[in-house]
């Protein structure tokens, strides 16, 4: 239990920075509710005065002031209730705003290694559902929990004040109800968790069905898919019914106990009134007070539940916020030389992916010098380490040993923003944001003019198809660039990289969806744009790599071959094999005779 307490303190201490700036609202929320509750408890006393001082003695003069007093109390109570609601609302909203901004900012700084593991849905739910849970608890739940406490304390104090024997008798109800309420919470809590699991199962099955609709239809597996969906759907139903069943068990019991206490009050209280131990007004006011105390007691289970859920939410959120950032800016960044030409050097670079300790090194003792104006080609199979090379250059990860330098400075000594503003990468899977094509191209340079954007698009061979779209550059490309073909998306991604005129450009297998003619046009443009700058090309096609100044062939993290196309093609090895597969029709360059000797030049 103690550890549980410690843990809770830690969580709310961790969240303190988000709600403490609004401690005024917090106080307003708690005090507003407490005062409203206290005033509410005075109301039954007025009824007592009405009966005992006005009706029974038949002194009807005081009635007007009594009634006005009642109305005044109601108005004041309502005002305080509003203070509670207003402050709680503001507190919760501002808290949510701060937490969401902080989480979002954190997401922006977390490294690639984090995103290799993270799941979108999980992060989304932390930034939405979890923040919502904390908002509710801190804004309202906390005040309500305190209020239940106040109500029981004040309420029984008043009952004892009116008639202590009756107070003592009804006090017996509290432990019974509290016990039932807590039992209720304990039973319902695990079911809530299973509901969340069922929902996520349901969501995944629907989502995959929609996104994979072509596969589903072509394999005619609608009924198989329905089976998967039905599992989630049935589970969701069953879990909701399980909740209802816990609810159906406890709610009526609690209400029965509470109501019985009122019946008992009438019986025993009635006897005491008849025997003149107390007045009729006492009885009516006790009846009113008991009703007021008992009503919120059965929600105790809910409040506790609300508390534990928000605690869990807080835990998940703090886990994200306190997450270690693998790749960080140095404490004292070195300013890179402004006219640095873009000389890149890899020295004895070895790297192992941080989350894959069991796997061998992705890159071993890698050396490379890429001078300004050079084009480096990287070739290799899946898992050969070729993408690793360029990701290390961007500092998506930090090298395990060795060093990478840019114009003589270790890239770990540079500010990340500085480093990355000098480099541009086009990823294998082109990602477009939900905005216009114009904004997608100018993503790295929001100050670019229309002319510059168009020029970049022309160089990436994208201008013509963009102009054919209904709204041209203002066409909005939706969710992951929907509505465009793979090749079109790649060309927009390439234009995006061209526009920032980086010192270092990286094409990570980013022309795979283009036909050779288009690719060739883009390569010509590339030479123009990247004059005097450094280019890294990762590709499977020989045609993409052929003109590189140096081609590095990688296998399982080791460099197995390096050199120019003309050299490599004459040496036995992976490069020549690849070449043969792709250009079996053109044997002459191999300097040996193959079975096929078709001439194609005409």
């Amino acid at each position: 239990m103690l550890t549980g307490e410690d843990c809770r303190l830690d969580i709310f201490k961790g969240l303190k920075q988000f709600f403490w700036p609004d401690k005024g609202f917090l106080t307003g929320s708690v005090l507003g509710l407490a005062v409203a509750t206290a005033i509410g408890l005075v109301y039954p006393l007025l009824l007592r005065a009405l009966i005992d001082d006005v009706i029974t003695p038949k002194k009807f003069d005081g009635i007007l002031s009594l009634a006005l007093l009642a109305v005044a109390l109601i108005v004041v109570k309502a005002a305080f209730q509003y203070v509670h609601g207003f402050c709680g609302g503001r507190l919760g909203n501002r808290l949510a705003y701060r937490m969401r901004n902080a989480s979002y900012d954190k997401l922006q700084t977390l490294s690639f290694s984090f995103y290799d593991q993270a799941r979108t849905g999980d992060l989304m739910s932390r930034l939405t559902a979890d923040i919502e849970g904390i908002r509710n608890f801190v804004g309202f739940g906390f005040a309500q929990l305190l209020n239940t406490l106040f109500l029981v304390l004040f309420g029984f104090a008043m009952m004892f004040y009116v008639d202590w024997t009756m107070g003592l008798m009804t006090l017996a109800v509290i432990p019974v109800i509290a016990y039932a309420a807590i039992r209720f919470e304990l039973q319902i809590h695990p079911v809530f968790r299973t509901i969340r699991i069922a929902i996520s199962k349901l969501t995944i099955s629907v989502q995959e069905n929609i996104m994979g609709v072509r596969t589903v239809k072509s394999y005619d597996s609608a009924s198989h898919e329905y089976g998967k969906f039905d599992e989630g759907n049935s589970q969701y139903k069953a879990n909701n019914l399980a909740i209802a069943s816990v609810w159906a068990t406890y709610f009526p019991i609690i209400e029965f106990v509470a109501s019985s206490s009122i019946a008992l009050l009438l019986l025993v209280g009635g006897w005491r009134v008849i025997h003149h131990h107390m007045t009729l007004g006492d009885l009516v006011s006790l009846n009113g007070m008991l009703g007021m105390i008992v009503a919120p007691l059965w929600t105790l289970g809910f409040q506790i539940n609300n508390y534990t859920m928000s605690k869990a939410s807080g835990e998940r959120l703090l886990e994200l916020l306190n997450r270690h950032i693998d790749v960080q800016d140095p404490a004292h960044p070195v300013k890179p030389k402004t006219e640095g030409a873009g000389l890149i050097r890899f020295r004895d670079v070895t790297f192992r992916y941080p989350n894959h300790e069991e796997q061998p090194n992705a890159l071993v003792d890698f050396d490379l010098t890429a001078g300004p104006g050079s084009v480096i080609g990287l070739l290799g199979g899946t898992g050969s380490g070729k993408s690793t090379v360029v990701q290390l250059l961007l500092r998506a990860y930090d090298v395990t040993s060795g060093a990478i330098t840019l114009d003589g400075e270790d890239i770990r000594q540079l500010e990340l923003g500085e480093l990355r503003s000098r480099t541009a990468i086009v990823f294998q899977e082109s990602f477009l944001f939900s905005t216009t094509i114009r904004e997608n191209i100018s993503y790295g340079r929001s100050d670019a003019t229309q002319a510059e954007i168009e020029q970049a698009a022309k160089l990436a061979d994208a201008h013509d198809f963009i102009m054919e779209l209904p709204a041209g550059y203002d066409t909005i490309v939706g969710e992951r660039g929907m509505g465009l073909s793979g090749g079109q998306k790649q060309r927009i991604a390439i234009a995006r990289a061209f526009l920032i005129r980086p010192k270092v450009l990286i094409l990570d297998d980013s022309t795979s969806a283009l036909d050779m003619e288009t690719e060739h046009r883009i390569q010509l443009a590339l030479r123009q744009v990247m004059e005097g700058r450094t280019v890294f090309i990762i590709a499977h096609r020989i045609s993409s790599l052929r003109h590189a100044d140096e081609i590095v062939v990688l296998d399982k993290g080791h460099v197995v071959q390096r050199g120019r196309h003309e050299e490599l093609v004459r040496l036995p090895g992976l490069y020549r094999e690849t070449y043969r597969t792709q250009y079996a029709d053109r044997p002459d360059e191999l300097g040996e005779d193959t079975a096929s000797s078709r001439k194609v030049s005409g």
Partner: protein, 599 residues
């Protein structure tokens, strides 16, 4: 200029609701009519009546026994009242248990039915439907929109019936107990209804704004997380933070408005009903003075009147809930009303044991009516032939594939398999004959094994492995942490594109279709893997009619027939040798490749 991502919003609904939609929604309750009636009956008799009777019993006890002014002080009578009260509470216990069980049971079943119906319907819809909509918005309708009807359909219906009955009951009792006082107190009812409904309308609009802003945040978060690598590579973190701060700030402002209005509600109702209390106290004591009212009845009145606001308040909330639910219902029915464009004919026949002859007979097709993707395409493919489709992006290669699978229907002309028009065949039998390996391989969450087995769920483990071996996928699979039982998530993002494609090859091979289509399937495979694939391709293509859409010469040169497409027209056809012998599109294309190589 600061960045502006754009997301589609739902529209603010101002109108009152559509009765027809509501009737349609309540049709889903029809199968459970009996259960609904029983629940309402039980709750009315045992739940509501006890609630109405108890204040009256208390007033009897006060007036007849306890009141020092006129009570007889009989403990026997008081004990009877106590006993009756306890018995009523007992009945109420049972009635509540029954009601909670059954309302939820009905509600959950209706939700289940509705969601199943919607899902099944959406599954029948054609590609045109999915082309137009982002996956997220379809998802939201099947999950959130259906969920939001849950409360309405379970507790909503039953509680509203009970609330209306309770209101009527209280009014009758008050009128019977003391008509003058009852009428005086009820003067405040119209005032209350007016105040609450005008406040509620504004609150409702405010919450809608909150929801719209929230869904914008959700869309952005989803995209920001998925595109994070691009953001970081282009050093755009600060810009994104600025954009999000705006989004978040505007969301919080709408929250502030909505929650201020929402919190106003309780206090305003309370102050309004204070007018009723004032009348009750002043006029009530006046009537006691006149001897027209007893203390017990006054106490009962106070209880009844406080029970009075409760159902009015709940019914008001119910009405707001109904309006919000109706907008969900409308969105659901909009999908239900979508007709599948590619629909099975009434008299469709199964297409069994085909040999694999494929004919296109003067096929014309356009995705948009004014832009034709295919113009008068005709060809005749004999069983077992390998056909390569060659041409630039947008030449119509993929469209031919889409029409063959009947993902779309031709605008005019016919597509025939073994002489049968694909529109005359049942969809499932047609698609069982065709296997397709796509550019964008879709991996489902589940194990690697399940993914390979996708087209033939009854395949044995040995068959799965044999298929994986044939396409050279076995080697990388056994290196994964759990081999064939490795769980893949989020569309297989942990696998490389090449690996994903190998899996889809294995999937296609295992399904063993008569007609196989490979749509740019080898574009992203590294050459090492491709060499293996080339070897496997022989196995894959054997004894099947196959269509290959590819840019790479190495994949197309062995085809029996090459169809060269340009702007929706077949400009040339023949095998590689024939086509190379004469000048034309194909030779230009191939020569261009070499030119690039040596340029």
């Amino acid at each position: 200029m600061s960045r502006q991502f754009q997301y589609q919003d739902d529209v603010l609904i101002e109108k009152s609701f559509n009765w027809k939609q509501m009737a349609r929604l309540f049709d889903y309750l029809k199968p459970y009519k009996g259960a609904v009636t029983r629940v309402v009956f039980v709750m009315m008799v045992f739940g509501m009546l006890t609630r109405l009777a108890i204040p009256y019993l208390i007033s009897l006890a006060i007036d007849k026994v306890i009141d020092p002014d006129g009570g007889n002080g009989s403990m026997g009578y008081l004990s009877i009242v106590f006993g009756v009260m306890l018995a009523m509470y007992g009945l109420r216990w049972w009635a509540q248990n029954y009601t909670i069980h059954h309302t939820n049971d009905i509600g959950q079943k209706v939700i289940y039915d509705l969601r199943s119906a919607l899902f099944k319907h959406v599954q029948t819809l054609s590609f045109r439907f999915f082309d137009k909509r982002p996956a997220g918005s379809v998802l939201v309708r099947i999950t959130n929109d259906v969920n939001s009807l849950q409360d309405l359909l379970s507790n909503g219906v039953v509680n509203s019936a009970i609330d209306i009955a309770q209101l009527a009951g209280i009014i009758v009792i008050l009128l019977v107990l003391q008509p003058k006082l009852a009428l005086a107190v009820m003067i405040t009812v119209p005032l209350l209804i007016f105040v609450s409904s005008s406040l509620r309308k504004r609150t409702r609009m405010a919450w809608q704004t909150v929801r719209i802003k929230q869904s914008r945040i959700n869309s952005h978060l989803n995209e920001a997380i998925q595109g994070m690598r691009v953001t970081q590579a282009f050093a755009q973190e600060k810009e994104n933070m600025r954009f999000f701060d705006n989004l978040n700030g505007s969301s919080i402002r709408s929250w502030n408005i909505a929650s201020s209005l929402n919190q106003l509600f309780g206090p305003v109702i309370e102050v309004t009903s204070a007018v009723g209390t004032l009348i009750l106290l002043l006029y009530g004591t006046h009537l006691i003075q006149q001897g027209e009212l007893t203390v017990g009845v006054l106490v009962a009145f106070i209880t009844y009147v406080s029970n009075f606001w409760e159902p009015i308040n709940r019914l008001g909330q119910m009405y707001s809930q109904l309006l919000i639910s109706m907008s969900s219902a409308e969105r659901i029915f909009e999908y239900m009303d979508e007709k599948p464009i590619v629909a099975e004919k009434e008299d469709a026949k199964p297409l069994n044991d085909v040999r694999g002859r494929v004919q296109f007979d003067h096929v014309v097709f356009g995705y948009d009516p004014d832009r034709l993707a295919l113009k008068d395409i005709s060809f005749d493919i004999k069983p077992g032939m390998t056909v390569a489709l060659v041409g630039h992006t947008g030449s119509g290669k993929s469209t031919i594939v889409n029409l063959l699978c009947r993902f779309y229907d031709v605008t005019s002309g016919r597509v025939l398999i073994d002489g049968m028009d694909v529109r005359d065949a049942t969809l499932d039998s047609l698609r069982r004959q065709i296997g397709i390996v796509m550019q964008d391989t879709f991996i489902f969450s589940g194990t690697i094994r399940d993914n390979i087995r996708y087209g033939r769920p009854d395949a044995s483990n040995a068959e799965v492995e044999a298929a994986a071996r044939s396409v050279r996928a076995h080697d990388f699979i056994v290196k994964l942490p759990d081999g064939y039982d490795t769980q893949v998530q989020e569309r297989g993002s942990a696998l490389s594109m090449g690996q994903r494609q190998l899996l889809s090859f294995a999937r296609a091979l295992l399904a063993d279709p008569r007609i196989l289509i490979m749509d740019e399937a080898t574009a992203s495979i590294d050459t090492e893997t491709e060499v293996r694939i080339q070897e496997a391709l022989g196995t894959l293509l054997e004894h099947r009619t196959s269509f290959i859409v590819a840019h790479r010469l190495s994949t197309i040169r062995h085809a029996d027939l090459i169809l060269v497409l340009d702007h929706g027209v077949i400009v040339d056809q023949g095998n590689h040798d024939e086509l190379m012998r004469r000048p034309g599109h194909y030779r230009n294309l191939i020569e261009a490749q070499y030119r690039f190589l040596s340029a």
